[in-house]
């Protein structure tokens, strides 16, 4: 029985309407309205986002979305950033490129995060996609400058090449010269992660000179300060600029060149780089400071007084990344000068030092929370915290969406009361109703998880380390956090009970990482057997988990939902628990 809708639009009309819907979430919602909408939507989806490259196979994606132009893929779990995921775990992009090369000669954009990208993959991209425009590799590894040369040589329409925080085998700086002399379409180039070896300055200069649409240029450490003026002279239209090394013999001509050329960059809104800063050269950027909205000084080893001077010149700052050299005093100045601040990241300059080397405490964070009404995202490393400070922060800044606090020494208690920091973090989740991302640290009991389960209804990502007392903690989170998508846990006393009791929850999440906890091999097997739509991966470099008693805890466990089934590219230290795991491993 098919009842035709009294009003049904022709497909083209619906397509046109859908074209205004860009967000992935909304597109997914649209596709679930009814069968015909699903069909129409899938034919006109142009951007595909795959949050976990193993959740679905390339073929499935291609089958469903026959005409996409842009794909974003994420590979390794987040904790890979901190070396918790052994090398060789996976996340290879090549199978995706290979499938797409055949199906989509018109693919334009590829964005990858935490994936293994080989030169072979890059060469295949260069060869297969004639209209290729955007390549963004974020925290990727496995390729060399040879692969980049292939991209440069073949992609005539390339607009964006962004290598953020990648590990690149720097074989030769001359890959840049592979951009043909006729190539002028570059809009964004980020090579800040490339090595410190000699760069090809003349090729870089020529490239910048002929690409008159260049808006973003982030150089690597190898580019010395005295070369920057020459490069910038040809690009006064830049909006985002990352310096190379910011050190040189202090010479008046270098300084005046730099100051002059920077002041002619009227569109500059974002600065980064600043390796090896010599404070004498800082005033050269003052002329552009008033327009700056984003400043990344997290590699600049300058002390508080210079930082304060700099920051007070930037009233329109929205985003600041800085080392803890800024100290509490600097953050107080920030709080009074930068009322538009939305995001702050403070990194430790000496994370392994026995004693604090700078005067940066919870007070700095309190000051900024009190003083900056638009602050919504924070990543803060410090050495002490109190419940009182956290409550103040929560009350004054309920608009936090991302709150990541790292108290450097694990299990550090409230320094005033010596109590756990449960109440403080509890206040954060209670007051910040739109909190989407939270990282915990310090001394924490099961109680904090009770607060989180009760209040953090919009929380999507939670990172936990050295916290909790028992399975109850994990249970609170899994049963209470309705919006939870990613959960990563390390070194907590969480075991089988909470995991098994909330097995169904895991299918509603993208992934769960648990390492150095108390989850037994038996529980992993059970989970694998009972939940066919989950990939339960045991990662253990000590050897096969069945060579130890079943009740032994596994080293690392990564669970993610997938419609592609278990993967086949696992290294010898990864085992997938599936329906036959009981049979196969015995």
């Amino acid at each position: 029985m098919h009842k035709k809708m009294a009003f049904s639009f022709p497909d083209e009309v619906l397509e046109h309407v859908f074209s205004f819907i860009q967000s992935d979430k909304d597109r997914n919602a649209v596709s679930m309205v009814c069968k015909s909408w699903y069909e129409i939507e899938r034919w006109c989806r142009r951007k595909v986002f795959v949050g976990n490259c193993y959740a679905v196979s390339p073929r499935m994606v291609i089958r469903r979305f026959p005409e996409f132009r842009s794909i974003e893929l994420k590979g390794k779990p987040h904790f890979a950033d901190f070396n918790l995921v052994p090398d060789g775990w996976g996340g290879y992009v090549f199978p995706w490129i290979a499938e797409m090369a055949g199906a989509y000669p018109w693919l334009e954009e590829i964005r990858l995060k935490r994936m293994v990208v080989t030169d072979e993959s890059l060469e295949l991209i260069a060869k297969s996609f004639k209209n290729f425009k955007v390549l963004v590799l974020s925290s990727c590894e496995g390729f060399s400058t040879d692969g980049l040369a292939a991209i440069a040589a073949s992609c005539k329409n390339l607009k964006e090449l962004d290598l953020r925080d990648c590990e690149v085998d720097d074989l030769s700086a001359h890959w840049l010269s592979h951009f043909p002399e006729t190539y002028t379409s570059l809009v964004s180039l980020n090579i800040s992660c490339l090595g410190s070896d000699e760069a090809s300055f003349s090729a870089l200069e020529r490239l910048v000179r002929r690409c008159t649409n260049l808006k973003t240029l982030r150089l690597n450490r190898a580019v010395p300060l005295d070369k920057i003026a020459n490069i910038l002279r040809h690009a006064p239209q830049l909006v985002e600029f990352g310096t190379g090394t910011y050190t040189a013999d202090v010479r008046p001509d270098v300084y005046s060149d730099l100051a002059g050329v920077l002041s002619s960059c009227k569109e500059l809104k974002s600065l980064s780089g600043f390796w090896d800063v010599i404070p004498d050269y800082l005033p050269a950027i003052y002329p552009v400071c008033s327009k700056l909205t984003s400043l990344n000084l997290s590699y600049a080893t300058i002390q508080s007084p210079d930082l304060i001077k700099l920051v007070s010149h930037c009233p329109n700052l929205q985003r600041l990344l800085v080392l803890d050299y800024i100290e509490d005093s600097g953050l107080e100045v920030l709080a009074s000068s930068c009322k538009d601040l939305q995001e702050l990241r403070v990194f430790p300059s000496d994370p392994f030092g026995a004693e604090p080397n700078v005067s940066l405490t919870e007070q700095g964070l309190v000051a900024v929370s009190l003083g900056c009404p638009k602050l919504q995202s924070v990543l803060y490393f410090c050495r002490r915290m109190s419940n009182e400070a956290l409550v103040t922060i929560a009350r004054s800044r309920p608009n936090f969406t991302r709150f990541r606090l790292c108290i450097i020494e694990p299990k550090t208690a409230d320094y005033l009361t010596l109590e756990p920091l449960d109440v403080g973090f509890g206040a954060i989740v209670q007051y910040c109703k739109d909190l989407r991302r939270l990282s915990l640290s310090g001394l924490l009991t099961d109680r904090v998880f009770e607060y989180i389960g009760t209040y953090a209804k919009k929380l999507e990502m939670l990172s936990v380390a050295f916290a909790g007392d028992s399975d109850l903690g994990l249970h609170h989170v899994l049963s209470g956090c309705e919006s939870l998508r990613k959960l990563e846990i390390r070194d907590c006393p969480f075991g089988d009970k909470a995991l098994l009791a909330n097995a169904a929850k895991l299918e509603t999440m993208r992934s769960l990482w648990i390492s150095s906890c108390a989850v037994s091999f038996a529980a992993c097997k059970l989970l694998g057997q009972k939940m066919p739509r989950l990939n339960v991966e045991v990662i253990d470099e000590r050897g096969p988990p069945d060579s130890r008693p079943e009740n032994c805890p596994v080293d690392k466990l990564y669970i993610y939902r997938s419609i592609a089934g278990p993967r086949f590219d696992m290294p010898p230290f990864v085992w997938t628990m599936d329906e036959d795991s009981g049979l196969r491993l015995s």
């Binding site: 390796w275 030092g353 026995a354 020494e409």
Partner: protein, 253 residues
Amino acid sequence: MSEASSYLAETELELGLGLSIGGPTGKINKASGRILTAKDFPVPRRASMNGGTPPSVTVSGTKRAADQSVPHDGGSPTATSQVVGWPPIRSYRMNSLVNNNQAKAPRAEEEHKGINEEEEEEEEDKAIKDGSKQKKPNENLGHIGFIKVNMDGIRIGRKVDLNAHSSYHSLASALENMFLRSAGAEKQQLTMPSKLLDGSSEFVLTYEDKEGDWMLVGDVPWMMFLTSVRRLRIMKTSELRDSTKGTELKEVN
């Protein structure tokens, strides 16, 4: 633990990877899979792959003697216990911190160095220039952790966590597992150590030290190795011998 005795245990190893480069007399050590260690050579060998004349023996000797005087007390404790991946700082940022700390306070470290006077300045200059790991021998072990390992013939490099090992034995074992015992096919290679028909290992373990020179692994005390290693390379023995790039080793065969 004296240098000699620390290697005794290691010489008993059966390993697919070997450091079996012949000694000064030109003989190739026939022991299968044995790590040849410094006691097989009167002076450290430099696998100088970067061209140029190899350093003179005296310099090496001085360096070695100097290195020996560095106290290796098994790791001076720092405030944070050296836990893997904590605090959660990404490795590129960590490397940048190391370079910064080094460039900032070379003078302050003088009393900790314990190496020859004449060496000091040379090493400082080099260190600042190439931004290598910090010179204090037992610090920063918390993040010296992962270094790159490449094996000839294998495209994708790997990373090994040096923190997880306390001896050459353990490291070599791990590398074997990583490279020679990959999924599926190579079950055969589990018995590789004893399968060395011609008596010499197919592969040699070398490392790049903080001065950019390639050295044989096993040359120096483990702790000293930890402070100077930048990355590892499992090199084909044949390539090492055939190298014409001015290495002393070429006359050894």
